[in-house]
Subunit: 129 residues, 2 copies
Amino acid sequence: MLLKLDLQSEIPIYTQLRNQIIEGIGRGDLKYGDALPSVRNLASDLGINLHTVNKAYTLLKQDGYIQVHRQKGVVVNPEGMPPIDEDFLNKIKDEFRPIIAECLCRGMSKEEVSLIVKQIYTMIKEKGR
Amino acid sequence: MLLKLDLQSEIPIYTQLRNQIIEGIGRGDLKYGDALPSVRNLASDLGINLHTVNKAYTLLKQDGYIQVHRQKGVVVNPEGMPPIDEDFLNKIKDEFRPIIAECLCRGMSKEEVSLIVKQIYTMIKEKGR
DNA sequence: ATATCTGTTATATTATATATATAACAGATA
DNA sequence: TATCTGTTATATATATAATATAACAGATAT
């Protein structure tokens, strides 16, 4: 799977990594049980530090997206993705909220915002072809 | 207008301020031309530093949400909100994207995501009553 | 006029977050 | 036995966030 970094971005590298791996899973590029590169290999490939990759993996592990086995390596959670529970919904609501508020502030209708969101959903899903 | 801060949050104080003011405008609590507290008064009321408020105001000014007059004070932009241009759409797409990817990753359908977004839109808009 | 209120700018300090650099440990594998 | 895992521990450099004082210059009220 191809990972691209913007080292000049204000978004931390470990966050960029985390987001792209999640997007890869969501799109289907990465399937349940698929192996991810070792922290050292990925860091080397990307020209960044081992600990930066490790931080991204740690976050993904904490959320249940991947499993990390001491000596086997890193894999996308073979048991599937974590459930859509209350905690998750509250988290994404907190993340969505300020963006939607800004849309509302500029006069976008509920339908316009909804349409943009649907377009992004489709764009993510179809990018793998 | 009531502003609440979570000093323990990982979200910077100036970002919390910015977001809440934008939400206030979007909801209609703050109307075009309405005065905002001076940097010193608001900082004092919230128990934070003047520069933290000033940073929030500077961001809001840069985006065209408020106007700052040297001696008159701070007001919500009387000419209305900035337009929904290409730059704005690209910005919110970049912000929406990782959240939507995570929804997709957990198996939420396009309609489920869209529904949540609509609910948040309504929630923001109706909170002022 | 003078005191007070604006936003603004400058400087310094502290704390935290981000990213890197080395090194070592312990289990698994070739 | 050498090599590959993730993990942990330190140390360092840089950037960001937040605070603390201080001063400036224009406007306003007394």
